[in-house]
Amino acid sequence: MHPIYTHHVYPVCIVLPMSIGHTLLGLLESGPRHGYDLKRAFDEKFGHDKPLHYGQVYSTMSRLLKNGLVEVDGVESGEGPERKRYAITDAGVTDVQQWLATPEKPEPYLQSTLYTKVVLALLTRRDAAELLDSQRAAHLRMMRTLTERKRGGDLADQLICDHALFHLEADLRWLELTAARLEKLALEVR
């Protein structure tokens, strides 16, 4: 239904590699940072009980460098490892913007990505409410499709669709709840 969106089903309950890239990009929007700083900021805001590995940061950054979304702002050499400072490029800003604006494909267990997006939107002073609304619209569209399919289908179809519908409904309620608490969240993450 959304041709621009090509993701497949992601493993459950982990922050997706693609999302790490966008997340790190988003964190860079507030100013250039060292890789180490990035890891710390990420862990603090999104990592919770699963901190990022350094390796993951560096491999992601090198992919972003390759794609022209970030550039190296400078290198500090001294004791210890070499420390590159990364800055976001205009293309990088556009990419973050696009990512945030595109609703996730309504799937069960989306909270982590959605949560990351909301926090990033708040951090980068983008319209988090708009983000939630468009996600909500996407969810409801999905639910409509499932409802429609259910109408025509047999009992097995109905049960499968119902399973998905109940999960989507739970998501939607989370979206509503988050929308109602956006201001409080903004105070906490900024």
Binding site: S134, R136, L140, M143, T147, E148, L165, E176
Partner: protein
């Protein structure tokens, strides 16, 4: 998938900048709404957001303090209470959450009620009513009183009653609010099917996403302001 409403068709009911105060509380603060013939629009939003007030304004039950509201090109504000009542009798249908069936009338009499209000003779009205009970799969309840039937059956009777006058707009305020999911779903299916086959527009106030999923489009009301979610994506 969804029935496509020709976008060019003129809206049947169209509201702009509706405002309504109840004492110090602002129920509507510039709400917008538009529905085309045959369209099912869900009105969602948290409790106290003003969605019921919006429905009451749209149905001409409550007069907004300001704003423009047209039905079929006619300004509702310019109508007298009598005209609005007549409109509700003949052009609109209503389903509420509960407490809407007259307890001492039998189901068929309840369904026939709007027709009788509009002046149809008793026999003809009840014949028509029986037809609608059949369409909503509750024909066997015709002679029973609301106290003797279950909530889901009662809602089906209420839906039959709301459609019996072949209204052009059906207003449903939490029609499944008091039902379990299975009954609620069945009521929604019958409601939307019946409304579609009668080409009635449906304004569906609900806070349940699974009920809203029966709509073509949804409007979210927050703090008295409306948002058409078709523009959110």
């Amino acid at each position: 998938m969804n029935r496509q409403v020709p976008p060019g068709e003129a809206p049947l009911l169209h509201a702009q900048e509706l405002r309504k105060q109840y004492g110090a509380t602002t129920a509507l603060d510039g709400a917008e709404f538009s529905i085309r013939p045959g369209e099912v629009v869900a009105v969602m939003g948290p409790s106290g957001s003003g969605k019921s007030t919006l429905l009451h304004c749209l149905a001409g039950i409550v007069t907004p303090d300001s704003g423009s509201l047209t039905y079929d090109g006619r300004q509702m504000a310019a109508m007298s209470d009598r005209e609005r009542s007549a409109l509700r009798r003949t052009e609109f249908g209503f389903v509420f959450q509960f407490g809407q069936l007259v307890p001492e009338l039998s189901c068929v009499e309840n369904v026939a009620l709007p027709l009788r209000l509009a002046g149809t003779g008793r026999r003809a009205a009840e014949r028509e009513a029986n037809g609608w009970l059949e369409r909503l799969e509750v024909a066997e309840l015709a002679g029973k009183r609301p106290g003797e039937i279950s909530g889901g059956q009662g809602q089906r009777v209420a839906v039959a009653r709301s459609l019996v006058t072949r209204p052009r707009v059906l207003f449903a305020d939490e029609p499944t609010g008091a039902l379990d999911s299975l009954n609620g779903e069945r009521v929604m299916e019958l409601l939307t099917e019946a409304a579609r086959s009668a080409r009635a527009a449906v304004v569906l106030v609900t806070h349940e996403a699974r009920v809203a999923a029966y709509s073509d489009r949804e409007i979210v009301v927050r703090d008295g302001r409306s948002r058409d979610m078709a523009h959110a994506a």
